[in-house]
């Protein structure tokens, strides 16, 4: 939920454009959005969609070609120093200071931001404790795993009590346990006044953490709403996944697509579940039907089509609409 208090825009982006030299297209192409204080705002899109470039412009590391970006009312181009004082960044790749301990990483970061000595000492210990790093406080970050580095970087980012925290793909490449840990910590931040702007290509992450999600592709913001509203916009569009016992040709797929209440049919070419990947011709038929009507009513007609073509139905899965389906609907492609 978008918190009612405190009122006010923490991040504001208007018609933001970035074209890199020698590139024929805009990496970010006229993006506009705003996030209020305390909100968790997710930018969802595949790699290369322009999410990281958008974050780069907001965090003063990428110069916009056109448009406006403000952090807490401060123009990031006009007054980058004041903008930096209010923001913190957790990047995709570790950028921890390898010459000093992780506790010193936190302390020096706070010192750069003018946090008084006593406050930064106390806050460092609190955050190290909260992030489960107290026993490693004196270690240098050299041999930290991706998950541990990520935790240190989030703790470091919070040291100067930023108004806006940017997280670029915060859990990409983490193992499931580390990912859950990071998600838990970020959910704790949802209750604070800190505005979180996170990019992700993981729809679960976006749905789980974000109050609102902006879907990006090819530098454009295609849709922007709460995860619920985005999914609801595709109402009635469930999915129905069918698996048959044997391979089949296109005629079956076409016959399924001709049924009432079916938007389109996608053949799923997965690797064989227990063994080496096989070519799609030799795989048993597996299709995903995107529905415009009620999924339960379509199971019988779809099964009948398979039977007509001499196939037996092996597996049926009814799927609710997810953010990934919203993305597919908007772009015609999957996220990965």
């Amino acid at each position: 939920m978008v918190p009612a208090e405190p009122e006010g825009v923490a991040v504001e982006v208007r018609d933001l454009v970035k074209r890199y030299p020698k590139s024929p297209v805009n990496a970010v192409d006229g993006v506009s959005f705003a996030a209020v204080a305390g909100e968790v705002f997710g930018l969802l899109g595949p790699n290369g969609a322009g999410k990281t470039t958008t974050i780069g412009m907001l965090t003063t590391r990428v110069r916009p070609t056109a448009g406006m970006a403000r952090i807490g009312g401060v123009d990031v181009v006009g007054d980058p120093v004041r903008a930096r004082a209010q923001l913190a960044v957790v990047p995709q790749q570790s950028n921890l200071d390898r010459s000093i301990s992780i506790r010193d990483n936190l302390i020096f970061h706070a010192a750069y931001h003018g946090v008084p000595a006593r406050v930064r000492e106390e806050r460092a210990d609190e955050l190290l404790d909260q992030f489960g790093l107290l026993d490693r406080a004196k270690d240098k970050p050299d041999f930290f795993s991706g998950g541990q580095s990520q935790r240190v970087m989030i703790a470091r980012a919070l040291m100067h009590a930023p108004r806006v925290l940017f997280l670029d793909e915060p859990t990409t490449g983490l193992d499931p346990a580390a990912r859950l840990f990071v998600w838990d910590r970020l959910r704790e931040l949802q209750d604070s006044d800190v505005t979180l702007i996170l990019t992700t290509h993981d729809m679960d992450e976006a749905a789980l953490l974000a109050d609102r999600v902006g879907i990006m592709d090819h530098g454009h913001l295609l849709a922007l709403d709460t995860p619920d509203a985005l999914v609801r916009a595709l109402e009635g569009e469930g999915t129905l996944e069918l698996a048959a016992d044997r391979p089949a040709d296109r005629t079956v797929v076409e016959a399924l697509a001709a049924l009432d209440g079916i938007d389109r049919v996608e053949q799923v070419h997965a690797a064989a579940e227990d063994g080496a990947p096989e070519s799609s011709d030799s795989q048993p038929l597996r299709v995903r039907l995107y529905l415009t009507g009620d999924a339960a009513l379509l199971v019988a007609p779809a099964a009948a089509v398979l039977t007509e073509h001499g196939l037996a139905l092996q597996d049926v899965k009814l799927g609710a609409v997810t953010l990934e389906d919203v993305f597919i609907h908007l772009t015609g492609r999957t996220l990965r």
């Binding site: 825009v9 890199y20 110069r63 930096r84 004082a85 750069y112």
Partner: protein, 268 residues
């Protein structure tokens, strides 16, 4: 919806960030002091020992060669130390450790980050050259010294450090990480041997083309300035005023171009 009130930065925020970043660099250097010593002192000490002591003892060099060599080695130490303090860390920090990002996001202008790097390189350079003085006395028995030349001596070390910092900034921001070994062979080594650290420039008139080559290396004027300060009567040298006149614009150009390179890497 109204924008939340834009905060006012407390006065001194930017300088405090600058000081804290400098403090971090000094803190790390202090804690790794033996490594610092090995990195900056080993090479000049070996040069001093082999060319100043060993070859002299074996009578392969004339008595008095140390008058040529020692001021040159101080110049070399000043330039190389400052260069190393910038070039390799910058290549690594922009290339793969990304350590510099936390500084670039500190509440200070990007130019302060550059300024801190240069100041730190100068501090390291001065520390290294000062250490070379007792080492010179130990290895050579005595070093040429004139108290009256102290201002010129200090000017030489400072300008040497700044030349090195300028080169380091330039290399550190222009060289992509995968070419870091080329930096050594194609830039470092030629710079090292065309800087008149082991021979006096005026006498190169016997080898005219090399004299012209060395005249293009700013390090030459640092070496010659040190000779002008320390051994003006004993070794032929370029006039100190001329060295300073060449060095000041050289430093300016190196630092300006290097800072541009830094901005290019820091902000896309």
């Amino acid at each position: 919806m109204n924008a939340i009130a834009a905060p006012v930065l407390p006065p001194g925020t930017q300088w405090r960030a600058f000081r804290m970043v400098l403090y971090r660099d000094l803190y790390v250097t202090w804690r790794e002091f033996p490594a610092f010593l090995a990195q900056v002192i080993l090479q000049p000490v070996f040069l001093l020992f082999v060319f100043g002591k060993v070859l002299g003892t074996l009578n392969y060099t004339q008595h008095g060669y140390t008058n040529v060599l020692y001021p040159g080695l101080l110049a070399l130490t000043a330039v190389i130390t400052a260069m190393q303090a910038l070039a390799f860390p910058l290549v690594a920090e922009f290339g793969w450790t990304k350590e510099i990002e936390d500084r670039l996001l500190a509440p200070m202008p990007t130019s302060y980050v550059v300024g801190e790097k240069v100041l730190f390189a100068v501090v390291r350079s001065l520390a290294a050259t000062l250490i070379m003085i007792p080492l010179g006395i130990i290895i050579l028995g005595s070093i040429p010294w004139r108290w009256g030349a102290l201002p010129l001596f200090v000017a030489g070390l400072l300008l040497g450090a700044l030349v090195g910092a300028g080169f380091g900034l330039l290399m550190g921001t222009l060289v992509p990480p995968q070419r870091i070994t080329l930096l050594f062979s194609l830039v470092f080594t030629p710079l090292l041997f065309t800087g008149c650290t082991q021979y006096p420039w005026p006498q190169l008139s016997q080898l005219r083309w090399f004299q012209i080559v060395t005249a293009c290396n700013p390090m030459t004027y640092v070496s010659e300035l040190m000779r002008g300060a320390m051994v003006p009567e004993l070794v032929p040298h370029i006039a100190p005023w001329l060295c300073i006149v060449v060095l000041i614009p050289s430093v300016a150009v190196l630092l300006i171009v290097g800072t541009r390179g830094f901005y290019r890497r820091a902000i896309d």
